[in-house]
Structures are given as C-alpha cells and as structure tokens.
C-alpha cells in the first residue's frame, strides 16, 4: 500500500536518512523502531510532505506522492499522529476532532465519526468542551489518535504514541491501535518502546542512524539477539 524506495533526506548538509527502503502492506501493522535521532520522525515527516527528500520515492497505492503538497497527501487518505501529540491547546476537544476532518464536507458523517471516537475513548466525551491544552498527557494522546481518525484515513502513521505514558494508558492505546487495524486501517507505527511495538506488529524494521539495518516479522525480531541487546535490553534487566 505504501512503499518507500531509497529515500534520502538531509537537513542542511547532514543526512538524516541515507536511502531507506520499506514497505507497508495493506491491513498490516508495520513498526519502525530505532534509537533517538535514528531518523524515525524524519521518515514520517517526509512521507507527509513536510520535509523535502533529496532523492528516492514515496509510492502510495501505486502512485508516486513524492513532492506533493501535504494537504493533497492527507486527501489521499494518509494521516499522522505526531510525536508529542501536538493537539491544538487553544481548541476544545470537539474542535480538535472537527479540525481532523478539515478536508471532509459530509457534515452528518463527521458527527457520527465524532461519536465513534467518543465510543473508543469515553474520557474524551466527558471533556468535549474542555480546552485540549488542559487535558492530561494520556488524554491528549487519545485526542491525537481520535483527531487523526477523523480524516477517515486508509493509513495511519503514529510517531511514538507511548511516549511518556503510564503502562496502563499505553496498553489502552495499543488495544485501540489493533481495533483500528481490524477496521481496515493500515498502520505504520514508530516506537522506541520496541517490546510493545514488536508484539503487535506484523512486520518490523530497525532504523539506525539513517539506515535500515534489520527487518523481519514482529515476533522474529523479538527473538533476534541484536534487537534483544540493543532495544530490549532494559526490559530484560528488569525481568531479572
């Protein structure tokens, strides 16, 4: 469904992505894991057309979308839950959801989808008129996911949704991710929390300083020695 071929991105003179290739098949959860500064967010931002790539292609449903305007890319059914949630603090919860549907014009369906998001995250319904800036971190993450869903995406990209959240909230968000996938939305999930991500992913890629160094089925990567020591190390120590 989404294919990145040999993508290179540079900020100033420094290459953040050094020619990565990856594929996200329809209906899958694909995860991209890597340490700080590996280039994970850069990958998503260049798919969204927020940063220009130096070379390489982004293909979506057989069509090249490299260099398109962000609004055109959104209109095609790609959406992003940004790193650090980035809800609009000066908009209410319900306005944040409505702005997620910015390019849609089907008012009645938008209202239905708002109710659907509220069913997924009942906490948001209670806080419908609250300013998003006053929500807790977990609630903001729920809102960021809900807002992305409001565009009725075919593929949803998520940048570290577990960042800074309590384990219970992470569990909740990840169960919602699976539910969204079961409704037919393809997911590209970026995580530093490799353990959780690889558990739900159909396929995983490991990104290291701008290069993809490993890839495989989620479960296989969990067993991989390199992955274990580099990304799951903490977890093992804790288990001891």
């Amino acid at each position: 469904m989404l294919r990145i071929e040999n993508l290179t991105v540079a900020y100033g003179g420094i290459e953040a992505l050094k020619g990565i290739t990856l594929e996200v098949p329809e209906g899958n959860i694909v995860t991209l894991i890597g340490a700080n500064g590996a280039g994970k967010s850069t990958t998503l931002r260049s798919i969204m057309g927020l940063v220009k790539s130096r070379s390489g292609k982004v293909m979506y449903q057989g069509e090249e979308i490299t260099g398109m305007k962000t609004s055109e890319i959104v209109a095609k059914g790609i959406t992003l839950v940004p790193e650090g949630r980035r809800v609009f603090p000066n908009l209410s919860v319900v306005e944040n959801l409505m702005i997620g549907a910015y390019l849609r014009t089907d008012r009645e369906e938008i209202q239905k989808d708002i109710q659907w998001v509220y069913d997924l995250f009942p906490r948001l319904r209670e806080r419908s008129w609250q300013m998003a800036g006053t929500l807790s971190g977990g609630e903001q993450q729920m809102l960021a996911v809900g807002r992305a869903l409001m565009s009725r995406p075919k593929i949803m990209m998520m940048d570290e949704p577990s960042l800074g959240l309590a384990p219970l909230v992470v569990k909740h968000i990840f169960s919602i991710i699976k539910e969204i996938r079961d409704r037919g939305v393809t997911i590209l999930l970026i995580e530093q929390n490799a353990n959780v991500a690889l558990h739900i992913a159909d396929w995983g890629y490991v990104l290291e300083t701008g290069n993809i160094v490993l890839s495989g089925k989620g479960r296989e990567l969990l067993e991989n020695e390199e992955v274990k020591s580099a990304y799951l190390g903490k977890k093992k120590e804790k288990a001891k």
């Binding site: 927020l50 962000t70 959104v74 959406t79 940004p82 980035r86 000066n90 908009l91 702005i99």
Partner: protein, 296 residues
C-alpha cells in the same frame, strides 16, 4: 452629566473605535505570524487615498466607493504578504521584521511619488456631516456611525473566528503550522485570509478617519499606526478583544486628557507612549494577553 462631557465621551468612543479597527489588524497578524506588521499603518494610508480617488476623482457614490476601497485594500494586504513576508517565513524573525519596515518605507515613498506630498482634502459626505442634537449637544452622524460600525464588525469577526471553519483553521495555524498542515489545512490560504481581513478593517478605519479628520497625506498612517500598535500591546497582542479594549482606552484617554487637562494638550501623542511604558512595566502581557513563554 454635563453636555460637554457627553460630547467628549462621544468623541472618545468614536476615536477609540477607529483605533480598535486598526489595532485588530496588528493583533491578528501577530497572532498568526508572530510578527509586527510595520506596514499596517501605511496600508491604512493607502486606503485613505483609494477612498479619496474613488469619491473625489472618479465620483463613485460613496457606499460603492467604500466597498471598493475595502476590497482593494484587502488585496493590497495580501499582495504585501505574498511578496514581502511569505518568502521569508522560514527565515529568522528579524528578516521578516526588516522586510516589513521596508514595505512601510516603500508605501510611504510610493504615495509621495504618485500622489505628491501635498495633503489632499478628503471629500465631504453630507450624510455623515449632518448633526443631530441630543441633550443639548449637537453631534455629527459620523461620531455615532464609527462605534456602531465597529461593534457590528467586531461581532462578525468574533463569529468568524470562534464559529466558522476558517476561524478554527486560523486558531490552529496560530499555534502550530506543521500540525495544521497535517490536518490538510493550506496555511498559505489561511495566512492570506488573515491579511485580507486585517487590511480590510484598516480600510474601514481609514475611510472613517478621513471623514472625521478630512486630510489625506503620505505620512498620515505613521502616528495612527504606532498608536494602534500600542493599543494592541495594551490589550494583549494576539488577542482581538484585547485590541478593542486597548483601542478604547487609548481613544477615550486621549480625548479626556485634552478635554480635562487642557494644559497638557501638547502631550496628546505622548499619552500613548507613556501608557505603553507603564503596561510594559506592570503587565507585559497586556490586559487580556495570555502567558506564554514561546512568544518572541
């Protein structure tokens, strides 16, 4: 209340409304671009010329002339943004400020060159010059007209910002360009719309200014521009209601100062600056300003 006090109040409210209309433009642009549009006062001046030519030279009936002036000024504002600010959007903040100062000089000199520096008399419009007598004081129609129009405009503007899709997009863009783009918002269009609205309001201010103080010249935008910027800061820059409150404080304060302490009449313009200094010392965020750390 004595009849002269009533007269002063009416004048103060009407001057305050004029300041408010122009101050809104500063505050809206600041809200979305985090920059002071130093050319705003000169856009106001250009609008006064447009009105002068429309009515005096081309003899367009005033209601149509006014609509034309507002549209033309909105276009001018969009043109300035497109050519002088948009190319610098990712540049350091100082570049865009310097560009604004450049546009300001450009417009002033252009007006001087095209229209000559000699002041022109703004045509008198009988409808506005008529006076009505209330409680023993005769007051010109324009003195009522200005605050009435300002209130209507303000209500429409707040409706647009708080209740429409465009307004929601403006609020979103003012906080976070990149995330707004991810929502599918074309931020160039939203910013252009902001300039169009701000400049259109400045045009309304300029027209009414011309009716009240019937003289048009290339530097006429400088002092009102500065004062309205101060009004926006007093109210809390970035906040529309704040700009209106700031405008009224300045307008009423100025008129009452001149009326009640006539020995200080010469300090009329200094009043605004003294107020600015006081507000910057005691409440730097302005009356309704939000406390943010990221403001530049």
């Amino acid at each position: 209340m004595s009849s002269t006090t009533l007269q002063h109040l009416a004048n103060g409210v009407s001057l305050g409304s004029l300041y408010a209309l122009v101050a809104i433009g500063y505050t809206m642009v600041y809200g979305i671009l985090r920059m002071i549009n130093f050319a705003h006062g000169d856009i106001f001046m250009m609008a006064a010329y447009f009105a002068f030519f429309g009515i005096a030279t081309f003899r367009v009936p005033w209601p149509f002339a006014f609509i034309g002036v507002i549209l033309a000024t909105a276009l001018l504002g969009m043109l300035v943004e497109r050519s002088a600010y948009r190319p610098l959007r990712d540049a350091p903040k100082n570049s865009i400020l310097i560009s604004a100062i450049g546009v300001s000089f450009l417009l002033e000199n252009l007006a001087n060159y095209l229209f000559s520096g000699k002041p022109k008399a703004f045509p008198e419009i009988t409808f506005f010059a008529n006076t009505v007598v209330i409680g023993g004081v005769s007051i010109q129609v324009i003195t009522f007209f200005i605050p009435a129009v300002t209130m209507i405009i303000l209500a429409i503007l707040l409706y647009i910002i708080n209740r429409t899709k465009l307004g929601m997009a403006m609020r979103a863009v003012s906080k976070d360009y990149e995330t707004a783009m991810v929502m599918g918002i074309d931020i160039n269009k939203v910013i252009a719309a902001t300039f169009a609205i701000g400049s259109g309001l400045a045009a309304m201010g300029a027209i009414m200014w011309g009716i009240k103080y019937p003289q048009v010249q290339p530097m006429m935008g400088v002092m009102p521009g500065l004062k309205c910027f101060i009004a926006a800061v007093i109210g809390g820059i970035g906040n529309i209601k704040g700009a209106v409150i700031g405008g009224f404080i300045l307008g009423l304060g100025e008129i009452l100062l001149v009326a009640k302490l006539s020995s200080l009449t010469g300090y009329r313009d200094a009043f605004a600056f003294i107020l600015l200094i006081l507000i910057l010392i005691f409440r730097p965020t302005g009356i309704l300003g939000e406390k943010t750390t990221e403001k530049v």
